[in-house]
């Protein structure tokens, strides 16, 4: 077997997806115009698949802070903090994150993926147990794989199943570390956190919560599902990313654990990769400030999410189980998904196509992510386009009901 032969099934899958026109996994964004618009295939396109929940990518304060940092501190750090030292921006960003979350310590990584990879693979030793939700993000699975720990999955968002599996591990040596997510990225559903955290504590397990999709989205101050579910004091580690609501790139962990700082010398994804450029950290710090100053962004996101979710339901589409900024429209199969996705793009609407391999229970999803910066007119247009295509493809009853968006 030749080196690249193993990729034949994968290539075939991509070829099938390609056959319907544009390739959903190779979209060329010719020019981004705003948090909600871009030029794609020479056409002005409405962006509804960006995870840019608060719409901060063009926030003047963030841009100015980044430019200022670029001028003063240059384009990059050219190495890891262990080798090249920590800049003022690293220290300030970590202080501000710790302050925002009300925790003793914060540690910044180059991506959220690296934060999960580093935390899980370092924290859990060979005799420890990582206990993860079956629908966990790839970075959590990768962290488990890189660790030498025992790894147990429990049924998605199922407290009784978590309880049962922790019970089975009770007689085995080693610490138990349970990993949960705030909002799950594919269906937009949230963990029943209060109940699950109580179960973890009853079994003496540590709790990690990944707030990638819930930071800036949930909680009265935007601290995520832990804040909203009032369990912050019982959650040992919160992981997050700067790549979604904060509109930049990078990842972090916050914790109150007194020995947390040892991870700076133990964690390979912290030690052996270049740290974030000063300009990125400056924009993240500004975005944190904007998020704190403007709670109305979160309220607008909430209202927009409800409008799109309720609108899809009224049209007759099957969506995820609850209102969330991730509105996951279910389609009967991948072929229909690819066709629908292409027709959306031709109509100037960009969403994410999630193929069965990437989704819980192998469903095909048109995954929309709502932005606080979406106007009501844009959201109504999205619904109109979904209605027209859904009707044309025979997925909706014709004549479909008018969108109740007023």
């Amino acid at each position: 077997m030749a080196l690249f032969d193993k990729f034949a099934p994968l290539l075939k899958h991509y070829a099938d997806v390609n056959a319907a026109g544009h390739n959903p996994f190779k979209v060329n964004i010719e020019q981004v115009l705003s948090p909600t618009e871009a030029m794609v295939n020479g056409r002005e396109t409405l962006l509804v698949g960006t995870n840019n929940y608060l719409g901060l990518t063009f926030e003047p304060e963030c841009i100015e802070a980044a430019i200022d940092a670029l001028r003063r501190e240059g384009t990059g750090t050219t190495g890891s903090r262990v080798a090249n030292g920590s800049y003022e921006q690293h220290r300030r960003l970590e202080e501000e994150l710790a302050d925002f979350f009300g925790r003793k310590s914060a540690m910044v990584f180059s991506t959220g993926h690296h934060a999960n990879l580093g935390l899980l693979s370092t924290l859990a030793g060979p005799h420890d147990h990582l206990v993860i939700d079956a629908d966990s993000h790839a970075s959590i699975y990768d962290g488990c794989k890189l660790s030498s720990a025992q790894v147990t999955r429990f049924k998605h968002n199922n407290p009784a199943d978590l309880d049962k599996r922790l019970g089975r591990l009770a007689s085995l040596p080693g610490e138990k570390i349970v990993v949960l997510e705030g909002i799950y990225s594919m269906l937009g559903d949230r963990a029943p956190l209060k109940e699950m955290v109580a179960i973890c504590k009853r079994h003496g397990a540590y709790v990690v919560v990944d707030e990638a999709h819930s930071l800036g989205v949930l909680g009265r101050h935007g601290r995520g599902l832990c804040e909203e579910a009032e369990v912050e004091d019982q959650v040992d580690f919160i992981v997050g990313t700067f790549s979604k609501s904060l509109g930049a790139v990078g990842g972090f962990i916050v914790s109150n654990h007194p020995e947390f700082d040892v991870l700076r010398v133990a964690c390979r994804t912290y030690k052996f990769t270049a740290s974030l450029p000063p300009s990125v950290m400056a924009s993240v710090r500004a975005a944190l400030g904007v998020m704190r100053k403007k709670p109305e962004l979160r309220l607008r996101l909430k209202a927009n999410s409800k409008l799109l979710y309720d609108g899809m339901v009224a049209l007759g589409f099957q969506v995820g189980p609850e209102v969330s900024p991730v509105v996951a429209v279910h389609l009967p199969n991948l072929e229909m998904g690819v066709r629908f996705w292409n027709m959306l793009l031709e109509s100037g609407v960009y969403v994410n196509l999630a193929p069965p391999q990437a989704t819980p229970n192998g469903v095909t999803l048109l995954r929309c992510s709502v932005c606080a910066a979406h106007t009501k007119e844009q959201l109504v247009r999205i619904l109109d386009v979904f209605q027209a295509i859904g009707t044309e493809l025979g997925l909706l009853q014709a004549p479909a009901r008018r969108v109740a968006a007023q």
């Binding site: 720990a149 790894v151 147990t152 999955r153 049924k155 599996r165 089975r168 591990l169 085995l172």
Partner: protein, 82 residues
């Protein structure tokens, strides 16, 4: 739920036959990934079902070490002993 060692292999075979809807014959020498065409997610879901069937914990990090049905049964037997 309590099973003895020599009951494990037939029970694993029965569980696999059920999971694959009796489309392929399952023997101790059957190679999970190749003969049963299980992808990594299906394999992990199968492990979850077997954990419940035998009331054990089987780390998914051990999966790369397991090729055949017999090896899977041996692993479960080992886990049951603790």
């Amino acid at each position: 739920m309590s099973v003895t060692d020599d009951e494990i292999l037939p029970a694993v075979i029965a569980a696999l036959e059920e999971a694959t809807q009796h489309k392929v014959p399952v023997t101790p020498a059957t190679v999970l990934r190749q003969d049963l065409n299980l992808d990594s997610l299906a394999e992990m879901d199968l492990i979850m079902a077997l954990e419940d069937r035998f009331d054990v914990s089987i780390s998914i990090n051990h999966l790369p070490e397991i090729d055949t049905v017999a090896e899977l049964a041996a692993m479960i037997a080992k886990m049951k002993k603790g």
